[in-house]
Structure formats: C-alpha cells, structure tokens
Subunit: 356 residues, 3 copies
C-alpha cells in the first residue's frame, strides 16, 4: 500500500497560528510574461511599457505591472492556503517594495496570523500574511488576506479564535518609493494625459472610459500564468451551471487597465489597503470601472506623489457600489482601496523629453 501522493490541500484544522508555509514553484519572470500581460489586460501605463520611459524615470528597464507581481505571489499561495476556500474575504496591509523586472525569480511564503471557526462548526476564517521574495530574502510584495476555509471534519476541535489586528489603511508615510524613482523630468507628452498629483481632488470621481468583455480562454490563460491552481477557474464540471469562476485578481488587473483613462500617470501601485470581490465574475461579463480619490499625499521624494484611490469594477449599470441598505449592488465585482505613485509637485509637466 502506498501513500496517497495527491494531497487535497489544507482544511481549517490544518492551519496553526504562527506557522510558516513555504509555497512551491519559484518562478523566473520574463518579458514573455509582460507580453501576455499586455495581451490579456491592455495596460497602457508607459513605465511598464517602455524601457526608455522607465529609464527616464530613473529606473532600469521596465518593471512588470505592480499587480502582475501581486498575482505571481498570490498564485503560489493558492495550493497551500485557499484550494479548499469557500470565499476569498479580504485583503489588508498590502505593500509593494522594489519593482520586479524580467530575470527576477520570485517565490512566496505565508505566515498564518489568525484563525476563527464559524459558529456552525463547518468552516472558519484563516488570516495569512503572504510575502513575495526575490533572491535570498528580499520582500517585493507583502499582504494579508483572509479566506473562509472548509473543515475536513466538522468534529475536529479548533483552538480559540485568534483574530489579528489589521490597519484600516497604510499611512502615506509608510509607502515605499522605489530607489532611484524620479518623476522630475517626466514625459507628459507620451504618458497619456497631463494630470499630476495636484490635478486630483479628494472626493473626485473618475468614470473610466472603455469596457472589457471577458472570455474563458483569457481569464484561464492569465490565471495559469500566475500558476494559480484553484480548480474552480479551470474546470467546467465543478459547478452545476458549467461556468468557470474568474479569478478575482483578473478583475483587479482589468480595472487597473481601464483606469488608465483618467489616471494615466498612476505608474506604480504602492499599497493595497483593502479589497472586496463583491460578486463573482464569469466569462462574457463586460467589466467597467470608476474611481474615487480618497486621499492625497506628498512623499519624501518631491517628484513623486501618492494618491489613495478607491476603484470599483462593475458588470452592469450601477453608479454606486452599495445600495441604501449598505450591501453591494449585485453587479459590483470589485471594491479596491489602494495607493498609487504619480508625478508630484517636483515634476515639471511643461518639460518634454526628446527621448521616450
């Protein structure tokens, strides 16, 4: 008799607060991944599109989009954390450090920081802090997420609830501005629009132009690229209705790409304060997005400003995320609270750069 080699993944009773889970399959990022990100999401931010533009901003060759780095790191955690998840409940304390570039090898690990059994005894919530690592031990992305996970056996005892304290948002002073980033001679001629930090007002709403109808082949190719193994994205026989669930991060990247319209200079994501996948997304849904400016801040780097944004993605006509009863409208897909880096007061919109 041989051991069963095809694990079913962790259930609620398999998580221990304090445990460190090292995730499988390190991944070297390539320009091939960047091309696929282009083909799947249509991002147009110049920093991740043009090596020359990235160099003119004090960086080397173009980094991958911040959210692509997030997806790589997230994907690795799925087989260990959420393969038996009922729902991905939220994110907090997400921070992005030095950008990820082609040639970097990423791996990922998660610390269990909280567990709470549901009152029905059949499932519970697990909180993990996941870290994306480059080289020996450099953190490139870090975030907390919590998921509802089934129990293998309702009779299993679960230790007393341990709920982590999480910050409602990352403070502007705690944002990481990449080393060398310099928007002082930012080329507004080719960046897509001329809006810098000072052009945005707290409370302002931006209805992004454009919309994206999702295809099965697209969301599956994206989700496989991140080596995310959650079966519900790939197996049409799992649900009664023959549909495959679109990975929530796919909607995040679609929304960020749509947000180029009105926020073309939001070149890097610096933090994710919180996020909710309010309703499931399926193939043939048409995704739209709007954003609201929540907060503005300068950084230690005078050429770089920070904008805290709430971006809402919808598959319908709702103009508000929530109904009067405080619940999300049924066509709302995503409600994401995050910080972006954008040219600040020390950038000079009037100046053009002959070399783009």
């Amino acid at each position: 008799m041989t051991e069963c080699k095809t694990g079913q993944g962790r259930f609620l009773e398999d998580f221990k607060v304090g445990e460190l889970i090292v995730h499988a399959t390190p991944r070297t990022v390539t320009t091939g991944d960047m091309a696929l990100y282009m083909a799947l999401y249509a991002p147009r931010h110049a920093l991740a599109s043009s090596d020359d533009f990235a160099r003119s901003c004090g960086l080397g060759e173009s980094p991958i989009d911040s959210l692509a780095a997030f997806h790589f790191v997230f994907g690795k955690s799925v087989p260990d954390v959420s393969v038996n998840a009922v729902a991905n409940l939220g994110y907090a304390e997400g921070r992005f450090f030095e950008p990820v570039r082609p040639g970097d090898t990423l791996r990922s690990e998660s610390r269990v920081i909280g567990i709470k059994e549901n009152s029905n005894g059949r499932a519970g919530i697990v909180w993990v802090r996941t870290r994306g690592i480059r080289g020996a031990d450099e953190t490139v992305v870090e975030y907390v997420r919590w998921v509802m996970v089934r129990k293998r056996d309702a009779a299993s005892p679960i230790p007393e609830a341990s709920i982590p304290e999480l910050r409602p948002s990352i403070a502007a002073r705690d944002l990481h501005v990449p080393a060398g980033l310099d928007f002082a001679r930012y080329d507004f001629d080719v960046s897509g629009d001329r809006y810098a930090l000072s052009d945005y007002s707290v409370g302002e709403r931006i209805d992004h132009a454009g919309a994206a109808t999702v295809e099965e082949a697209e969301h599956m190719m994206a989700t496989r690229l991140w080596q995310n193994t959650a079966r519900v994205h790939f197996d049409a026989t799992l649900r009664g209705d023959g549909r495959r669930l679109v990975y929530g991060g796919h909607v995040m990247s679609l929304a960020r790409s749509l947000s180029f319209s009105g926020m073309a200079n939001a070149q890097l994501v610096a933090a994710i304060n919180g996020g909710t996948h309010a309703n499931p997304c399926f193939a043939l849904d048409t995704v739209r997005a709007w954003s609201e400016v929540l907060e503005k801040s300068e950084t230690d780097n005078p050429s770089v400003g920070a904008l805290r944004i709430r971006t809402v993605a919808s598959k319908g006509e709702s103009r508000q995320a929530k109904a009067e009863n405080g619940k999300y409208n049924p066509d709302i897909l995503l409600d994401l609270d995050y910080w972006v880096l954008i040219p600040g007061p020390g950038s000079m919109p009037g100046q053009s750069n002959p070399r783009r």
Copy 2:
C-alpha cells in the same frame, strides 16, 4: 468642480490640417511579443522565426514581422485618431524601413494632412500620415490612412475641404531594402518553398491553402497587444448584436500568414500601396486568402527582388473580390495591395546552407 479627465477622443472639428499629434505610450518590443504573434497568426516565414536564418540573410537576430511593426504603430494612433471613427476607409503610401527587433522601443505620431466634411454635415473624412519612430527620430514605418470621423456637434463649422494628393502606389525604386540584407546564400531547403522572384509572373493567381477560424479571445488578445483601444473590438455591449468587431489589421496578419502557402519566401513587407477592409470580420468567421501578382521588380541589391502583390481575404466562397457591379462581394474582408521582398536574381537556389 474638477476637470473631466476621461477624454472622449477627437471629433471631426478637433482636427486641424498641419497639426502634429504625438501618440501616447511608447512600447519596447520583446521576444514575448514575437511568441504571441506566432501563437495568434501562425506565421512561418523563416526570417522572423529563426535568428540563425536571419543572420544567414545578413541581418542580426530575427526582426518582428513587418505587419507586427505596423500594428504597434497603428495601435498607438487609435486613441487620438480613430476612437470616434465610423469607418477606417483606406491606406496609402505605406513604407517600411529598417526592421524592428526585440529591444527596440517604438513610439508613434501622426500629421493631419487632410479633412473633408460629409455633405450631411454630421461627419467627415480625416487623412493622417502616421510615423512609427525608434530612438531619437528614426522612422521605421510610415503610412497614410483616412477614416470617417463623427462630428461632436453637427453645427460646428469645418474649414474648406483639403484633400491630400496620394500616390496610387509606391514605385519599386522607392522601396527600402534593409541595410545588410543579403539573399545571395538564401537557404531554400528550409524556407518552405523554392520560388524566387523569377518564378512569379505578373497576373499569376495563387490560392493559398489553409483557413483560419477566428475566436473572440484571439482577436482581442492581438488587438490589446498592439495597445489599440477602439472599444468596438472589446465591448460586447456596444453593438445591438452582442458581437465584437475584429480589428482590420488582424485580418491583414491572418492573410499574410496564410500566404506562406505559395509565397514562403516573401520575407519582408516593403510597402503598403493601398488597402480596403471591405466587410467586417467577426469571431467564428473562417478566413481564406488568395493573391495576385501585380508587378515584379529588381532592386539595387541584386540578391533581393520585389513583388507587388494583391492579397484578398474572404470569409466565404467568392473567387473574385468584386461583383460585376464593381462592389465588393459580401464575403470579402480585405483587399490589400503591397510590396514584398523576396530572393532575386542574385540568390542561388541550388546552394544549401549547413547552418540554418
């Protein structure tokens, strides 16, 4: 009250003859883009497939397919030129210069060279000369196109019509042969067929074998790769029938790939004399193509010949592009008149190259 940051793009009254429009989002080309071009179009021309073959032709590593360069440059112009277009009416004076290679960063700009209001006063035609630029100011592709664009307001006055004079075709002597290109020791053993310039006759018709059924995910991935933002390609809610329109350039690349059958040695496109997207293409259309030889020419480089080709792509059974009344048959998608570079009299078909 804040400024509306999400522009609707230019309407007819926003174009001025003589104006130079600098398009957004420079783009560094990568081998990832080349792999996607392979996966989406199945080109088999050896020059863009094998670095060794390209080197044996006097070039460095493989350039991207000429039409991929065209699509990159075209895509950038869409948000400024044709986002409010009713129709893409034609191309002229398209010329290709030194090939584009991975690592090159492309940007794009368009000069408005003509405007003519329609008699109904609701729309009009705009002519632009678009230029793809590498580095400081090297033109890699250049072409004129004209589009019908809506007016924002029918009451807006439009200056007197200004219609540019365009050459019906690029003369063979004006074709650019890339520096160093040398078909003298061309490896016909692995290029796909043995036909050189002398094997083609003016008037000859070639019915390319093969056919390609188009999928939504494919044409959208391609069109996003070019950062072409025309909403009609991506948003199933725009038209009454729930269909997304396939980017006309997608059909151009499909037709060129099909044309490998019978024209395997047409390694580079040197010019686009004219082109018409005769009818719209939609997902699930099956594209076929045939070509006619319009003109033959030697070039200053004895190993390189030029063939002027008319390639017609169809989604049906028509054997002729036009009906007796001079109108395109309803299944005709594309009618493209262009020059290709092909081994000329100074190439030696008998010789094999040990290294491919």
Copy 3:
C-alpha cells in the same frame, strides 16, 4: 501557365523508404514561448519555472519543458508528413537529449523508415523517424511516429510493405541524463512535494487532482505556436459538425501538467516509449489524468532516478483505459508510456537550499 505553388503535401505514393525529408522553418525558442507554455498548460515543475532552481540542479537557466521541445519538432514535420493523414497512429523510440533553452534554434528532419499499403488500396501507413536538431547537427529529440496517409490516386502502385522493427520501450540504460544534472542538493521545500524515486512503487496508481476544460482559442494558440499546420485544428468548416480537432500533443501537455499533482519532481521527460491518441479531443472537453508506475531504475548519475510512467488522460469518468474487450473506453483521450527523471537515491530530501 504557371506552376501551382501551393502544394497539397505528400500522399502515400510520395513517400520512399530511406528518403530524408528536411522540414521548413527553423525556429528560435524564446522566453516568450515559455510564458505561453505557462499560460496554456499551467505547468508547475520548478526546473522549467525558475532559473535559480535550474541552476541549483546543475543546469544553466531553465530549459523549456521536454514536451514543448517535442511539439516544436513535431510541428515542423506536419506539412511534409501528416497534412494528408487520416490518423496519427503511434509513437515509439522517443528520446530526449540535452535540454532546449531560450536562444536555441531548432530545426527538424524526418527519415522515412517504413510504408505499408492498406488492403483497400486507398491509404496506407508511413513510419518516420523525426529528429529535432540544434545548431550544426546536435539531436535534441528523436522519435518514431506512424500515420495513416491517403493515396492521391488509388491506382498508384506502392512498393512491397516495409515495416520497421521498433523497440517496445527504451531501456533504462539507454536514457540520456543531461550533462551536469545534479539532484544531490535538490530543494524539496519548493518543488511541490517530497517524493523521490524510492517513494514510488511499480504498479502504484496516482489519480492526479485537477481538471482542465479546453477552449478553442487555447488549443489553436498552442498548436500555432508549434507551427503545426494541420488544417483540422484551425478550420471550423472542414468537418460537418463545425468543430476543430485538438492537436494530440495538446492533451499530452495538459496531462503532464496535471501530473504535477503526485509527481511534482518528475522534472524532465527522458523518453517516450509509446503513445496512443485513443479518441479525439474537442473544445469544452474537460481533461483529467491518472498515472501508473511501470518501472523504476537508477541511472549512472546517483542523484538522478528514472521512473517509467503510463499516464492516461480522459474526458469522462472512466477509471480504466480499456474495456473488457480490450478496446479503449470512449472517454479516453491519451495513453502515454514514458520515462521521467526524478531525484534518485543520491538526492538528500532533508536538505534545504537557502537560495531557490
């Protein structure tokens, strides 16, 4: 009158035993191809995912998956060997040599080693030994396949049957272990599971977790990436039912990716002993797989073991490949007999590598 330039490919009477067919279109492999392989198949074997992992195994940067090398080489042979094939009947004597890496240029040639006309005189079987070649003349993959090919003219005489003798399997001692491959300090922490050669037993069955529902866009993109031109994969008008046939190799790669669950350390394919595409695969089929261990062996390299595996892919619920009458069950897609390389007795599962 000009020669018809668009060949219809070889029919049975066009093959001569002993003939060498040089296939068209050499192909430089890139990291773009690797990214697409990720996006299309979701492989998670660390060796082909992480340059750092590959280096820690004594190789340079990550090689492409063994089956990707097989598909490139196979694809080139299609226009010459199987474009008029009725069926791809089998494989034998497949061997993989030094791994293929980005930057390598592959070409392919086939020797005709057998022909046998069917008793009905309308078709027959052709055996070819196909070789994938890098550089001047280094074999990277080699295999025999046989296909049933139509005759152009039933009246054409076919020489007496010549049937090659083929080995039922490659002997373990004939497997090629790549130069420098070293699993002595193999990083089981991030490879996905802890099973080495000694953990598998002959006769053991592994039911791989996961399933993959196939989309038209996906299998066509993959098959085009290999420059495989068989029209039945791309043209919805060919069959009466409007469906496109999925390339058999697509199912091989899906099955190998699914087999990560339970065989995460099977980093390289060393040989293909035999393979049958038992039933056709179409879009929207959901592919599952299980494996049986057929044979185990050490190699000359003490850190590297060899496992002979039979992997069966199914689109239904069958738990056995064949029914009692010896015929394949109708939901069985693939029955593949192959050798993989896996950490052997000289690898040290207890040791962790600080650098992944």
